[in-house]
Amino acid sequence: MASSDALLPISAREESDLNEETHRRRRPVKGLLAVSLGLLFIAFYVVLVATHDGSNRSNDVKIESDETATTTSRARLAGVSEKSNDKLWKLSGERNTVSFAWNNSVLSWQRTAFHFQPEQNWMNDPNGPLFYKGWYHFFYQYNPNAAVWGDIVWGHAVSKDLIHWVHLPIAMVADQWYDANGVWTGSATFLDDGSLVMLYTGSTDKFVQVQNLAYPEDLNDPLLLKWVKYSGNPVLVPPPGILPKDFRDPTTAWKTSTGKWRITIGSKINKTGISLVYDTTDFKTYEKHDTLLHQVPNTGMWECVDFYPVSKTAVNGLDTSVNGPNVKHIVKASMDDTRFDHYAVGTYFDSNGTWIPDDPSIDVGMSASLRYDYGKFYASKTFYDQNKGRRILWSWIGESDSEAADVQKGWSSLQGIPRTVVLDTKTGKNLVQWPVEEIESLRLSSKQFNMEVGPGSVVPVDVDSAAQLDIEAEFEIKKESLDKILGDASVVAEAEEFSCQKSGGASVRGALGPFGFSVLADKSLSEKTPVYFYVAKGKDSKLKTFFCTDTSRSTFANDVVKPIYGSSVPVLKGEKLTMRILVDHSIVEGFAQGGRTCITSRVYPTKAIYGAAKLFVFNNAIDATVTASFKVWQMNSAFIHPYSEEVVRAISSA
């Protein structure tokens, strides 16, 4: 990635004033200088080795207060894991206090094998996903010039199966006054005649947010390479009462019962997040409703609003225009203030274009409301896949590392693996997501394991390479363990206080957990990313299950955000605990109970990489034994194809 230097808008080369200084000094008297420099380097090396000797350091708990980190959780908790009486559970000791200097080998390992990402540079929101003439299309916010946000255009790629992608030329650039400062997020709508239109937000030359219409130049081109912007753009400008920078991300339109098309656009009024509604017949002129689709106080700006029907009974997806008694509607928004995506299940009233949630206590954007994903996941967007009758969810997965590292490695951000989305017909209250089945075409060899994992143990899982894996697992707490703990009054009820984020992570031992997998771990577990269940006893002796991912020890690097993510997950009577994990280098995606609770995390190990990355199954409960039955597949690369004219010609005629 050395050439990425040339792509930076301003020189950020590593060769700096520093090296110029030393070069100037080295020219004269080479011999003597070389010898003394050599001695100095030896002395320096000795000092370095002495300070690097981590294993002999004292085991004092050291918490470094980090003034920047107050709200971003970059405070490094250099601590000792809770002591265990099992020698297999290694104490992590005092963390390395010297900065980890990224090198190209460690950085290049981070690139994923089967997640969508451009060849280089920055990406953010998914845009206008659709299926047309045999191809899945994906567009995305892209910076063609740097590995940081800026100069945003619409990148474009196509695939037959949502997994194997071919990069195409940029679809839309910022070439008009109405999108001069950014061709931002938008959505596609299919019209009755099978043609399609794209509505997107432009940031004008004066930084005002407006909505614009674009459509394919040639509907006979299945690759939809070229796009035309409507000459009458913008089609919508911020209405009275809405600030010029609070008006973006138009949705896919749906048909109303009167035959008009309807869209919604997120915004805010003071601190109330809102969703505006417009009707149109031609996508060029619109009528704004006086009422909103919905609003929730104190949630701030609603970005990337999404609105769609889900079936109450069936497992297939529904076209955005479907309505009826067997249907619920989802309102989703990305909260600018917190960078979380939230959704709620509710009822849509077509006659006036309004929607109310089934449960107002967990309304869209409230801190307790549902999220597609409890990790690093934002700006998500669904589309109806008419090819297979599914609703599919795309999501922007940003980096959790420093910009210095992003610039050095030359890229930033991924998309999550596309997921199908359906209403959970068993609970009726939440969505269920699952990686699209096409990902299974990447599965290579597999191994099946069945084992009992005793309390306080960590078991290596022999799977050869461990950076590209698909794991499906079933766990069960042994009945004797469960009965004993439920019957034991001295075991304190903790379900009400437990949270993945606040309860100390995977090293804190409870009566019935945590247990799960340590992925991207090195053989001494000095770096590891546990993905696990924590079962907590509740006051009424009921059990509450939590699903967490703990990235706090995922890397020695200290310029990386390392949160503990997760949430509770509904477990119905008679259900075993199931989890699926996709590991793909610097991204880990976990799915609990068939996708009722999902967690995406970004991790940047410095040691647990390449051949040194291993997989472990663990049970850190104090007393309970767990049976684990799981299958681990090696995953192939998706071989995402860089853009080339020959490839485009070849697939055009296919």
Binding site: A12, V47, T68
Partner: protein
């Protein structure tokens, strides 16, 4: 009266700085720039991003000087050089372009600037950093700037 004293009570600088974690630092930085009296929130944010840039360059100058003399600290100084170059070239640039159009990306860049400074400082063995007051300063300014940028969300 209040204006003659050069301290306008209840003006935008005062109101804005009250919502940041360090009122005194915020007011000192902003009032040192004559543009602050007629600026909007975006303008105030840009003034502070300028301060980040200035401090970044000042620190880089220090780093270059120290590199000549403090041979034992060259490794962490080299890392600091990389980190501070990121601040002035990347973070500041992103913050400036994003603050006008899409402030959440400016927030990310400013948070990163604080992290880069912190990582630079953390690279020195305990008690041996020659840059502590500069890095601490950067972290504080980033905290204040971030608070102002968040007002734009």
């Amino acid at each position: 009266m209040a204006t003659i004293m050069g301290v306008a009570m209840g003006d935008i600088v005062d109101k804005t700085c009250k919502q940041t974690p360090d009122y005194t630092l915020c007011v000192t930085l902003l009032r040192s720039d004559p543009r602050s009296s007629s600026a909007d929130t975006v303008g105030l944010g840009l003034i502070l991003v300028d301060k980040i840039k200035e401090l970044g360059y000042e620190t880089l100058g220090q780093i270059v000087m120290l590199y000549k003399n403090k041979l034992m600290l060259r490794r962490p100084l080299h890392e600091c050089n990389l980190r501070y170059k990121t601040i002035v070239d990347v973070d500041v640039h992103t913050a400036i372009i994003a603050i006008k159009g899409n402030p959440k990306f400016a927030e990310g860049a400013i948070v990163d600037a604080g992290v880069e400074a912190s990582v630079c400082e953390g690279g020195f063995p305990k008690g041996q950093s020659p840059l502590t007051s500069l890095t601490q300063n950067m972290i504080k300014i980033c905290d204040v700037t971030r608070a102002i940028v968040r007002m734009l969300l």
